[in-house]
């Protein structure tokens, strides 16, 4: 069974630029999560999708971050414009349904200079 795929694995941008990350969850998984992991901290949930609907985006900085999962399968997370404090690893995870075990992708390491 293929795992959660993410791309790119690494990205370096300058502040005020925009960037997008892509995630393809495990086939058949209804729930998709985006986490932000700042160096030295645990992952923090940014947004959770159930199929193509948003379940929780309470910790998503909506003035600069956006995410979509239009067809209920893969998802894109965008940052525009980026700030220095956005430097982090962005992890995507998926689960069969809410309350089920989450499987994590390898993450995208973003560096904002």
């Amino acid at each position: 069974e293929a795992g959660v795929a993410q791309s790119p694995r690494y990205k370096i941008i300058e502040k005020r630029q925009s960037v997008a990350f892509w995630c393809n969850p495990i086939s058949g998984h209804a729930t998709l999560y985006w986490y932000q992991q700042i160096l030295g901290q645990g992952p923090k949930l940014l947004i959770q999708f159930q199929n193509n609907g948003v379940v929780d985006d309470s910790q998503l900085p909506k003035d600069r971050f956006s995410a979509e999962r239009l067809k209920g399968v893969d998802s894109t997370l965008k940052i525009q414009p980026a700030k220095l404090e956005d430097s982090a690893v962005y992890l995507c995870a998926s689960s069969l349904d809410r309350d089920d075990e989450q499987y994590f992708g390898p993450g995208t390491r973003l560096t904002v200079t």
Partner: protein, 114 residues
Amino acid sequence: AQSVTQLDSQVPVFEEAPVELRCNYSSSVSVYLFWYVQYPNQGLQLLLKYLSGSTLVKGINGFEAEFNKSQTSFHLRKPSVHISDTAEYFCAVYHQGGSEKLVFGKGTKLTVNP
């Protein structure tokens, strides 16, 4: 508010020694508890989980954890570590009927020395 505290940010041990990584949580409702491991430049992998039933939970790679409701703890243990256990370990809590999202601790960096 729900929170997870991992009491040690770094734990150095020698190979074949026992290890305990400590985790405490705060919650007023029933919880599910998890331990994840993260190897360098990789995502998180589930080590073990407590949902209900026996308070002693066994996971992969010889790890186990014990749920202690009165002390609100879920410490991770391994009787004999290997060099390959060097990684970052995260404790996480999921509140049933609460916020319904995983809340992670800050992590414990385990370094196993020869």
